[in-house]
């Protein structure tokens, strides 16, 4: 797991995207502050953070829509801002569907065929069916969910080396959201070296498809790594309350829940041997801590640190 400050330089060997010390300020708000991270090739990476954490600013910089005040973003080794060759490898799907002056899906696909060199028309038409979209209806009559589905179709069929989705599930119902995640996994099988960066609030929902995650807060990198790396050092322990309390005594408790006579504690392990010791005890069951729970804990921990520093 990489933490801010420990990550002077990006560490991933085969990174498609590198963000080096990027800062961006909007008047009084420091949206990004010397943020550095790297996105490995061929992975589905979650960009996770609270509202105002700087996710959208980072994505706008990655997409060449905004220039950083400091630092540099490179895509496959080339700076992105206004560089046609680098941006040609990117497809960015924003959180607000926008179809410009195009009227129908056919028009959008006609344009996309020119925008994305690896555009897969047959796959796009297949996805239209999967997202239950009417091909010949005018796009401005689409519901928000349908518009989102269409934008996701564009992202998936673009064939871009790096495809970025900003809040991809906005407006989608639960069935279509699950379908989208399944499509992502299927697409990764289809094109193994394709990389996805997904920015979202719905952490637990997206967690099942993520290979790794980047957690940012207040413009800083909170931590980054594979999901299992992030989860190591934390454990959910459930079972008889006395046994759980005994085994997790002295550890930092992320959250405690009572469930039908048993107790569930999500804890930060204080010693590497703790996990083996707890797992060996037959009175309790263990599971990795959910990514969302972990994110909430890390964010709150960071906030507490900031308050303490300010005080």
């Amino acid at each position: 797991m990489q933490k801010n400050g420990e990550m002077g330089a990006p560490v991933a060997d085969k990174a498609i995207l590198r963000v080096n010390g990027v800062s961006r300020r909007f008047r009084a708000t420091q949206a990004l502050d010397a943020l550095s991270l790297s996105i490995p090739v061929g992975e589905i990476v979650g960009l996770l953070g609270r509202n105002g954490a700087g996710k959208s600013t980072l994505l706008r910089i990655v997409g060449g829509m905004l220039r950083p005040d400091l630092g540099q973003v490179t895509l496959d080794g080339e700076a992105v801002f206004n560089r046609a060759r680098a941006l040609g490898k990117l497809c960015i799907i924003g959180d607000t569907p926008d179809f410009g002056h195009l009227a129908k899906i056919g028009d959008l696909f006609y344009v996309c065929k020119g925008l994305f060199p690896a555009w897969d028309e047959a796959y796009a038409r297949e996805l239209i069916g999967r997202f239950e979209l009417p091909f010949n209806k005018r796009m401005k009559t689409f519901s928000r969910g349908m518009q989102t589905g269409l934008m996701l179709t564009v992202g998936l069929a673009s064939g871009a080396e790096l495809t970025v989705f900003d809040e991809p599930s906005l407006g989608l119902d639960a069935v279509l959201r699950e379908r989208f995640y399944d499509l992502l996994l299927a697409d990764r099988q289809r094109i193994p070296n394709r990389t996805y960066l997904i920015s979202t609030h719905l952490i637990d929902e997206v967690a099942r498809v993520l290979d790794s995650a980047v957690l940012i807060d207040a413009g800083h990198l909170l931590c980054a790594g594979t999901v299992s790396e992030l989860q190591s050092g934390y454990l959910s322990v459930s079972g008889a309350p006395d046994a759980v309390r005994e085994l997790t005594g002295g550890m930092v408790i992320l959250k405690e829940e009572d469930a039908a006579g048993s107790l569930v504690r999500h804890v930060k392990l204080s010693d590497p041997g703790d996990q083996t010791r707890i797992e060996a005890d037959p009175r309790v069951r263990t599971a990795p801590v959910g990514l969302q729970r972990l994110f909430v804990f890390l964010t709150e921990e960071k906030e507490a640190e900031r308050h303490a520093t300010n005080a």
Binding site: G63, D76, A84, I92, H101, P117
Partner: protein, 273 residues
Amino acid sequence: MQPTLERTWWQSARLNGVLRYQWKALSRGVGLVMLILMVSQAISFLMPLALDMTYPFTGIYADLGVTLVVALISACVAAGKSTRFLLRFGTSRLSVWLGNLIGLFAGMVGLLLGTMLLSMLMGALTLAMANAMPRKYVFQRFFGELEGATLYGESLTEALKTLPTYILYTLEWTCMFYLLGCCLRRNRAATLFVIIGVPMLLMILTLIPAVRQAARVMENADDRQMMLLGIQWLKYLTDFVHFVEHEWPTLQLAGAVVSLPLSYLCMRGTPQP
């Protein structure tokens, strides 16, 4: 990485996509304008059949006025909504700028040629009808003695002669309108102030002292001095009009040449919402 595709700069820059978008967006607008022109011409042409009136046809022309109005609207739209759409997919600004301009040039020249073709068609129809119904369909110039097929040929030759100049004007104005669109997208209030407020301010600042001075002179001047003052003013005005008349094509060309890089710099520095 995916199996690396050998891509030309043109493909990576997504210029195909920008041009395809402009084709879809502009062809609809230009098509609509052509349809309106055709319908209005058809109505004017058919009215003499129902009413007691004459349909006069005075010559073939490419409609520069309509083209420039459409160019103004299209350039502002291309610099605004179209640019936003294209940049949102991560298209480079240079590609969007270049593609927008190529699209606008093609669209506006197409419209100009379209209006000329429409005019040629209406001329041919009038010529045909003038033989059958000479009182209702008149194919004649207000001045000059040419008539009928001779006039058609002469008029077509003249229109073809002026066409390159009109095309050049269309391209020049499109460049300037595109700069206006880029500036409006960047900062609407400041742009409107500069293009409306500043000229008005300058005019007011120039006129008020001049009018005051003239009023002071008129209070004490006799008829001869007032006449001299009037002649002097008229001379200034005539000199200005002559200067504009003689230098206008150069000013227009210079304006267009300057607008091109300025429009790129303006859109390059505009943050994408």
